[in-house]
Structures are given as C-alpha cells and as structure tokens.
Symmetry: C2
Subunit: 347 residues, 2 copies
Amino acid sequence: MGFLLKPGLHLKKKTIMPEFRRDPIHGRWVIISTERGRRPSDFVPEERRPVGGFCPLCEGNEDKTPPEIIAYRNNGTPPNSPGWTLRVVANKFPALRIEGDLNRQGDGIYDKMNGLGAHEVVIETPRHYETLSSLPLKAVENVLWAYRERMIDLRRDKRFRYVLVFKNHGVAAGASLEHSHSQIIALPIVPKRVSEEIEGAKNYFLYKDRCVFCDIIRQELGQGVRMIAENEAFLSIAPFASRFPFETWILPKTHYPSFEHMDSSLYPQAAQILSETLRRLQQVLHDPPYNYIIHTAPLQEVDHDSYHWHFEIMPKLTKVAGFEWGTGFYINPTPPEEAAHYLREAK
Amino acid sequence: MGFLLKPGLHLKKKTIMPEFRRDPIHGRWVIISTERGRRPSDFVPEERRPVGGFCPLCEGNEDKTPPEIIAYRNNGTPPNSPGWTLRVVANKFPALRIEGDLNRQGDGIYDKMNGLGAHEVVIETPRHYETLSSLPLKAVENVLWAYRERMIDLRRDKRFRYVLVFKNHGVAAGASLEHSHSQIIALPIVPKRVSEEIEGAKNYFLYKDRCVFCDIIRQELGQGVRMIAENEAFLSIAPFASRFPFETWILPKTHYPSFEHMDSSLYPQAAQILSETLRRLQQVLHDPPYNYIIHTAPLQEVDHDSYHWHFEIMPKLTKVAGFEWGTGFYINPTPPEEAAHYLREAK
C-alpha cells in the first residue's frame, strides 16, 4: 500500500512500535505498522484521490516534511528551503523505525521482532505536476544518483541487510501523494521474493556457469520480439513470462550485481532508457498507474557472478484477483510479444 | 484479474491457444491467455463497474452460458432451463483449454507448454442481487457441495495436479460480473505458493512431528486475541502475520489435508462459519471487495500428516503497491488483534 500521508490517521492513539512478524508456514516476514490507518472506518473501499490542495512535497513547503537527508540544490540555498531540484527526506509516517535493536522474540509458535529500518522519500521534482516521464533527462539521472547515494550510505549501517528502492505512480498503484516521488526502505532482513530470485539465479549459475540475466539479454537481443528499447549500455524488454500486461524490465547489458556499484559512467544511460521506457508506456497506455522496483543484490553475501541488477516496471492495468495473490500463479491476457510491439511502435 | 466476460473483447482475432510460460529465474509458471483483453485500448485505468443491465448468470438466461456441468435443481426442471438454485458451467472465456496435451517445449533458455486445464464458474444463486453473505445457510452449503463435487470429478483427470477454488467479490477484487459466483481452475502444475506452503508445513512437521496448522489452532484457541468466530468443527481467525488488513482464515479443528475429502458431516458447519465470517466482514467493513481461496492439498502426492486445508479470505481494502508484489514483503497497517476485535464485536 502507499503510505506517505494518510487521511483519517488517528494520531492521538498510542504509538506502537512497528513489528516484524514471521508467518510460521511460509517463513514470510510481514510488517505490522500501526502508524497508518487501522480502524475499519479508515478503509474507504472506493477509489480515493490524493488529497487536493496542499502538497507537502512542493517547493516552498519544506517545513512540512522531516528535514532533508540529502538535497540537490542551487548554489547557496540553505537546507530545507526553496531552491532545490531533488530532496530526500525521512518518511513522515514511516513503516519502520530507525532507533533501537531487533529484539527477536517468540510467542508460542510465532516469531516477531521490532520494526527496525529506514524509510525515506525521494522527492523527484519541486514542481507538483511533473512526472518522472515528463522530467528532463538530467533530473531523471539525479533521481538515480540520489538512489545510489542513499543506498551506499544505508549500507554502512550494519543492522541492514537489504535496501528496497521503489516507486508507486498513481492512486491505483498505491501512491498516496500525487507529487512525483519514490521510496527507499532499508530492512534488517532480505525479503522472501528477493531471496528466491537470488537463489534461482545462483542455481542457474551452478548448472550453466552463466548468469541467467546475461542469458536472457543475449536471447532477447537475438530474437528481438520482446525488445522495447535499447541504448549502448541498457535494454528494456517485455519479459517472456510476464505476470502482468505490459510488464517491463530494464537490464544493464554489462553484468553488475548491484545498482549502487555500477560504473558511474553508466547512470546517464540508465536515466535515458528509464525515461524512454516510461514515456513509451505513458504514450501507449495513457499515463497508466505503475510501480517499479530496483532488483539489486543484498548488502551482504553478494554473489558477484550470478545476480544482475535490473528494474522491474509493473503497470497496474488489471485488478489482480485473489488467486493470484494466494497462489503466485498469474494469468496475463497480453502476450509480451504484443506488448513489446505496441511499445516499440510508440513515438 | 477477473475474466468471466470481458467488455471490449476482440472475438474476431484469431484465437491463440493459451500457453504456460516458465520464468527462468523463479521457476514460476504464468498463463499467457489471449482469450481476454490484450490491446492497449482494452485497459481502462479507471474503475470499471460491471456492465449493467443484462446478466448472463441470472435465472432465465441459461442459454447465455455454456451448458451446465452440474446443477442443483427443483425436481423435474430440465437442464439449462430455469428452476435451479446453483449451476456450474464452463467459463465462456476460459483462461485454459480442456483439450489436448501439454506439449512441453523449450525456446532457448525459456520453457513453455500448452495452456491445458479446466476453468469453471459456480453460479451461487439464481438471483442477481444476492451475495454469498446474504444467502441462506443451505445455499452456502450447496456452494461448498458443488466445490466438492467438481473437485472430486476433476481429480479423475490424471493430467491435473491441482484444483484451485476461489472467489472474487467486488470490482476491486477482480470480479468482472456482479452476480455472485466463484471459479474453479484445474491445473497441470502445482502453483508455486501452494508448493511453498506444502513444503513449509512439511518442514515444520519433520522438525516438530506436529501439523503447523493444528499448532496454530491450539495457540489461537488458547490466546483468543485473534479469534473471530467458532463453531464445533471450525474456527476463523485473523492470522498472526496477516499480510492485509482484516485478512481472515477459516480452519477445520480436525486435521484434514483436503477440502474435498473432509467428512461429509462437517460441510454444514463449514457453511455456517463461512457465512458468519463473511457477514462479520460485511458489517464491519460495509460490503468490502474480497477474495477467498481454498487452500487444499494437491491431487497427487498427498502428505496426509502435515497439510491442513483452510480458507484464506482477503478483503481488498488498501492498494497493494509494487514493492509488495515484487518482494513478497507486506506492510499491514492493521494489527490482526485489532481486526479480530472489531470482527468479534460485530453483531
């Protein structure tokens, strides 16, 4: 869910430390975070538009967010004042808390620990009506630099094992504020699907002595049918086993396990292909709600050879039904070859 | 997604056999099914209400669905005519096809096979404005009998390895028709999350020599804080590591691996607790969109001791954002103890 600012929040209620809880069957960790809506009346079943009018992320409203952690500013402008092109601030209503330790505990057959972690917001532009796909290339590049800078800094905190970088665009994709932003969450655990992906890539490598992502890149460049865009260093594709219509991955052609340790010279090209891919999606699907996630190696135990960082972009076009949640089994009505065709043809 | 009838469907397009495709990293199978919307214009980003007016599932419109596979009827009424209380029909726009064989194939590093399977619709009531939570107990029980009857029949087809029973209620939960119905999909594979759940339960059993679900039941009955409802044979709880606000599980107190092989005497009580739990959700959350799935053992290789069938009900109250998809890592703003409290208090 999105959760930057939550209408109907009951701040008077006693603040309870967020908690990690482990499902005893799957071993899946869940955050129970009471910082956001919790009462039945907090859940409005109909579409809820972001609160109009005042926006705490706009230039001039710097005092409405927690102080900036980093900012890219015009020379001479003081912190937490106008004159910036990008700011990173702590999430005002964080899903996790930075203070304390994990304090692992059992409760009968259940396991839990404190909701320790960092939760930051990357404000991608000072202007309310710009989107990542409409921003100039230099601004998109700055977003990527900001991710990198924060990932490298958060890596220094030895309590963390994974840094999750993601973006929710549009209400249907979980964005609770309209103003263009992404989120960074540092976690004391490696999320389950991330571990599975790393494990899957490792198994492939053990069997073939090749990176599965490098093999995907070779096959996609060769076949061409699922190609969307390409520059010297990157390609974007509709993946062969796309879960969602118009699902799109962006991969660096050179093997790098982690986003933040990629050669610095490649970020401008990463910005170019991200921007171009988002613009193609925007044109074909008319500003679709979407999510993207940077899939990158965990902070520790990096297996350099088998994992390959990439973007996964998921337009939210269909309602994902219960059995897809509950089974990990997806029905996709749009063959990726057709999606890629439409996206390639877009001007 | 929901897919009973799809507005904007292009029936003139050449029908392509649906296809299973395997993700080479996770090993996850996806159905690429072109029977439903596929062009960019088929995706309407805004909420789409079910098409008003004509409903093919209503009594009197029996000729607008494929012929009934089973039906519970008033004495003497002929098949595919009025006079029924419940019908099961093939899905008019199935995600899978019943004919043919799997024809497993490789395409470079990718794997695929024919989209073989069964896809049926359980029409739960002849009347348009009834819902599962408003139906009389006997009608709810009939829905469960119909699931059972179809599961036992589909099990005879040795091509299938899993039968998925699920319900989408409400547009936000993926229902494409308003008329109360559930769906049954028989698959030649065991979906990934199902395998994981079975594997997790098996590991727990190997370690403890006890069923993890039986242990959950004991602890929940003992602690009481996550209890929602109970009868002699079943209980419903808010699970300890709930992924979603008001997530609810219903479990039989006696250990049965599969829904369809449970003792016949227990179905009335299963209907009672399902109905009561849905009514409590309905009252507290004002007719929330929801999905439920029957988690039951696969058709073959049943490990009798470690797996325990149950319902998982997931109200769709928040927008699930990208990182929850992409990581299997959930943030839930409502502690299950609070959800259970509200649901217990409901009249």
